[in-house]
């Protein structure tokens, strides 16, 4: 397998990359300072430098700057993308200076058209464009060196950021001036896999040093002279508005500088955060509650409330079809035997370690923003709208993200910070408390599904029918971004109307693919259908690590286990019989069974549970070894096999599998957001526990050796784990747990 095969399989060329992402008329930019699309604070802007496009710059004094177009939130893109550039540029990744890209068209996610980090696509979509960019840059430097040193191109070698001719070594920077006079190449050959020095090899994360010394800058660490801190009192029921407030007991409190009303609450601005937070206690606010949500209680037994709201929708004839194959639902009638089951997954909070925060400095009509965001361009537009400044007058400074998991795609906290800065006239850092964070999330939507699976005379699946009831994410995402996307001259009311129009469209007509993804794709069956019906109490929902797969992995893999178990068939063999059309997933299953010793003797009282699931172009199987003693679950070991194409940094792939498993176990064992009259009940880590080190199982990760181009790993490790554990519990106890979080009692 050669590098060019890697290229052909993904089909993205540098041309299309240039067209989509890079500076128009890219090539050599001679003697120019960096253009307007690059952050004004970029170093060396006045230097002569080789600037193939907005992502890469090699300066005269041999500094190699890489403008990281995606956000680093733990998933490793900072190291991964830099390693890709380093490989083709032929320089050790640790020598590259990585700078968070500013907001600009050149840094958009080419698959989404927005500057968004999500969907586990950073490595997959940048793999070829960055390789071509760096390979072409290396070639032009070699060409310049050949001219300058008066040798043939073939005699010009490179090694770790230097040109090597006749064992004499000179840094790339020496040739930048000459390179700038040449036509920038477009078709430099990519390295063959056998030539890789950095890709496919383990190396320490490039952000590890800063993050092990407390010197990495997160949004909450931003500070400057004159910066005030704000805390915000919001309606206990999300979406409520301020009816009236009384701040008489607040204004004289220590450090308090200002009290302002904004679109969703009342903010106290003080010298220090703890002063602002303390003052909120004495702030009295009367609220207008949102009617629908305020009527909802998770534990209600009324027919139009609690879980019954979902159950009623599921049992109704109402639904939208998302996928149909073969005879669809009608085929069920011809099945010899039908197995049915219903599953449930609750709302979940993201609970990133760093609570939401945003810093805003408004100077006249200019706004400067500091934020850790998965969507800095949305952050920019949102801030412009809420502070009422022209979009072009907003500068975004991106920091590291103290966890994202999909939460920081939303910009509700940016809107608040901008509104507070506007209303108070002060530079402010808005900091959410953990309670704010837990009670004002964009939650993973609760979901109920019903499977009806028809079997043929051999017990194989003939028809796979699934219907899902729950809220859809897309209308809420539209609500979040529409303010910023609409032209500034539209009155607020019209913008609000537009976002609600999106909501009703999705409620009755459209299926957001995230609602049903992962429920029906993986296994072979002649007849399939996947349907969705919206059941929505009105709690805002959003993207939660692996999105629809976060529940569909549990639903589908529990159901598959159930079908095998009811026929006394081996869970691995039975799955393999239905994976003829999904060979990569089948292979991870086979390898996992081998590594875990499936069907081999285990310690007394220990049992295996298996789950396999494809998501975000990657394939993952997990086998959990569990025991249940006196209704206490112990997870002793998890074997995880992943096929993600070429592993750019295998150690980071392994870390992301561990990460997905542990984040998924928090949800599988503990995670549940409930509502009481519309108010989120949970508030902090005591009633929304996260997995701790003493509950964390031993994890063994195996990466399938692959010559295919890389796919994503930030999310695919999560979907199988809850089912692997639940299926292990079934093996141990005979109890089929069909609801999350998994509860052995009751």
């Amino acid at each position: 397998m050669t590098a060019s095969t890697l290229e052909n399989e993904k089909g993205t060329t540098r041309r299309s990359f240039i067209k989509n992402i890079s500076l128009a008329g890219a090539g050599l930019v001679v003697g120019l300072p960096l253009t307007a699309c690059v952050n004004a604070s970029q170093p060396n802007k006045s230097q002569t430098a080789l600037i193939p496009n907005a992502l890469l710059q090699i300066t005269h004094d041999n500094i190699i700057n890489f403008y990281l177009p995606r956000s680093e939130m733990g998933q490793g893109t900072y190291t991964g993308l830099t390693t890709i550039v380093a490989e083709e540029l032929d320089v050790n990744p640790s020598k590259i200076n990585v700078i968070n890209a500013p907001v600009g068209d050149d840094y958009k996610n080419i698959e989404y058209g927005f500057q968004v980090t999500g969907g586990s696509n950073s490595i997959r979509t940048h793999f070829l464009p960055l390789r071509h960019l760096a390979a072409n840059a290396r070639l032009v430097i070699r060409q310049a060196a050949a001219q300058q040193l008066n040798v043939t191109l073939a005699d010009v070698k490179t090694d770790n950021g230097s040109i090597v001719v006749n064992s004499k070594s000179l840094p790339y920077g020496e040739f930048v001036d000459r390179a700038n006079t040449l036509d920038f190449p477009e078709h430099a050959a990519l390295k063959d896999k056998s030539q890789f020095k950095y890709m496919g090899k383990n190396a320490p994360r490039l952000d590890g040093l800063a993050k092990s010394t407390g010197t990495a800058q997160f949004g909450i660490d931003v500070d400057f002279e004159g910066l005030h801190r704000a805390a915000l009192k919001r309606c206990p029921v999300m979406g409520g508005k301020v009816k009236s407030f009384d701040d008489s007991a607040v204004r004289a409190m220590p450090g308090v500088k200002s009290v302002v009303k904004i679109h969703n609450g009342v903010a106290v601005i003080a010298d220090h955060y703890y002063q602002a937070k303390n003052a909120l206690v004495n702030l009295k606010v009367e609220w207008d509650l949102p009617e629908t949500l305020a009527a909802f209680s998770s534990d209600s037994t009324a027919s139009d409330n609690g879980k019954a709201l979902f159950k009623t929708a599921l049992d109704s004839n109402e639904s939208s079809n998302a996928y149909e194959q073969g005879g669809g639902f009608e085929a069920l009638k011809n099945a010899g035997k039908v197995i049915e089951a219903q599953y449930w997954a609750p709302y979940l909070a993201h609970a990133t370690m760093e609570p939401m925060n945003c810093t805003v400095k408004l100077t006249g009509k200019h706004l400067e923003l500091w934020v850790g965001s998965q969507a800095p361009d949305f952050a920019k537009l949102t801030a412009a709208y809420y502070a009422d400044v022209p979009k072009g007058n907003v500068t975004v400074n991106s920091t590291f993200l103290g966890g994202g998991f999909g939460r920081r795609v939303n910009n509700d906290f940016v809107a608040e910070a901008a509104a507070i800065a506007k209303a108070s006239g002060l530079p402010v850092q808005l900091v959410w408390s953990r309670e704010d964070d837990m009670k004002n999330d964009c939650y993973r939507p609760a979901s109920m599904v019903k499977f009806s699976v028809g079997l043929n005379s051999e017990g194989l699946i003939d028809s796979w029918m699934v219907k899902r009831a729950g809220p859809q994410i897309m209308p809420y995402v539209m609500d979040d971004i529409v303010d910023g996307l609409m032209p500034g001259f539209l009155p607020n009311r019209m913008v609000d109307g537009l976002s609600k129009a999106g909501y009703s469209l999705y409620k009755s007509l459209l299926v957001d693919h995230a609602s049903v993804e992962g429920l029906y794709e993986d296994y072979d069956a002649p007849h399939k259908s996947a349907d969705h019906v919206t059941a929505d109490p009105g709690l805002p929902v959003g993207n939660w690590r692996s999105v629809g797969h976060s529940y569909s992995g549990f639903f589908k893999e529990s159901m598959m286990d159930e079908i095998a178990a009811r026929q006394n068939k081996d869970a691995v063999e039975y799955r393999l019989k239905h994976l003829k059309g999904n060979p990569k997933l089948a292979n991870t299953l086979t390898v996992a069974a081998e590594k875990a010793g499936w069907n081999k003797p285990l310690p007394k009282g220990h049992y295996h549970g298996v789950a396999t699931h494809a998501s975000f172009h990657s394939f993952v199987t997990q086998i959990a070894e569990v025991s249940v003693t006196n209704n206490q679950l112990h997870i002793h070991n998890v074997v995880c096999v992943v096929d993600c194409g070429l592993a750019v940094n295998p150690d980071i792939v392994k870390a992301q599998m561990e990460s997905g498993i542990i984040y998924g176990l928090s949800a599988a064992l503990h995670g549940e957001i409930t509502l009481q009259k519309g108010e989120v009940v949970q508030s902090n880590f005591h009633d929304y526990p996260a997995l701790r080190i003493n509950e964390s199982p031993n994890i063994e990760v195996f990466i399938v050796e692959s010559d295919d181009a890389p796919t994503g790993v930030g999310e695919p490790g999560l979907p199988p784990i809850a089912a692997a554990v639940a299926n292990g519990i079934f093996a141990a106890t005979g109890k089929r747990l069909r609801s999350l979080p998994l509860k052995l009692e009751g």
């Binding site: 407390g214 997160f218 590291f400 997905g660 080190i693």
Partner: protein, 173 residues
């Protein structure tokens, strides 16, 4: 004015005595390595060594550290002078998002100052107050064991930059 020893140097602070130590360190003294995570002493992101013990400072009033020794991540090491645990952290690529890691390193430092060769169970006990949402626990365990081995071989150091040694703090006071 309340005075205490921060990373080996005596500091005086005029903040109200009930101010949580975390905010004194972050907002008044501008050391940003210690993080705010929960405000209830539940997650450990704010951990600092107080007389050698890993302590949740988001719920610890300033008045409680008057005259005592406080060590933050900045007092354990810096990018130019790493403690043995920090070196192990970097080498093993422990951090993911990195937000909780200052607290993790503080708790790990406290552990190794009292137990030079901790078992898995002892690591679990000492580290279970520190939540990591990215799930770096397997790497944390390995890095602590690696650092323990390196320290036993000699030449390592639990603190690379401060004058203050948490292992002997109680006898000094």
């Amino acid at each position: 004015m309340i005075s205490f020893v921060l990373n080996g140097q005596t500091v005086q602070v005029s903040a109200a005595p009930d101010t949580p130590l975390l905010w004194v360190i972050r907002d008044h003294l501008k050391l940003k390595g210690s993080k705010f995570g929960c405000g209830m002493g539940l997650c450990g992101a704010c951990s600092m060594l107080v007389d050698g013990d890993s302590t949740r400072t988001c719920v610890l009033p300033l008045a409680a550290v008057a005259g005592r020794n406080v060590t933050t991540i900045e007092g354990i090491g810096n990018p130019d002078m790493l403690s043995t645990l920090q070196s192990a952290w970097v080498e093993a690529s422990v951090p993911q998002c990195g937000y909780c890691q200052s607290g993790q390193l503080v708790s790990a430092t406290a552990l190794l100052s009292k137990n030079s060769n901790p078992s898995d169970e002892e690591i679990d006990n000492a580290m279970s107050g520190n939540i990591c949402r990215c799930g770096t626990y397997p790497k944390i365990k390995n890095a602590i064991k690696q650092a323990a081995m390196d320290l036993q071989k000699g030449g390592g150091r639990l603190q690379a930059v401060a004058y203050f040694d948490p292992a002997t703090s109680n006898s000094e006071l």
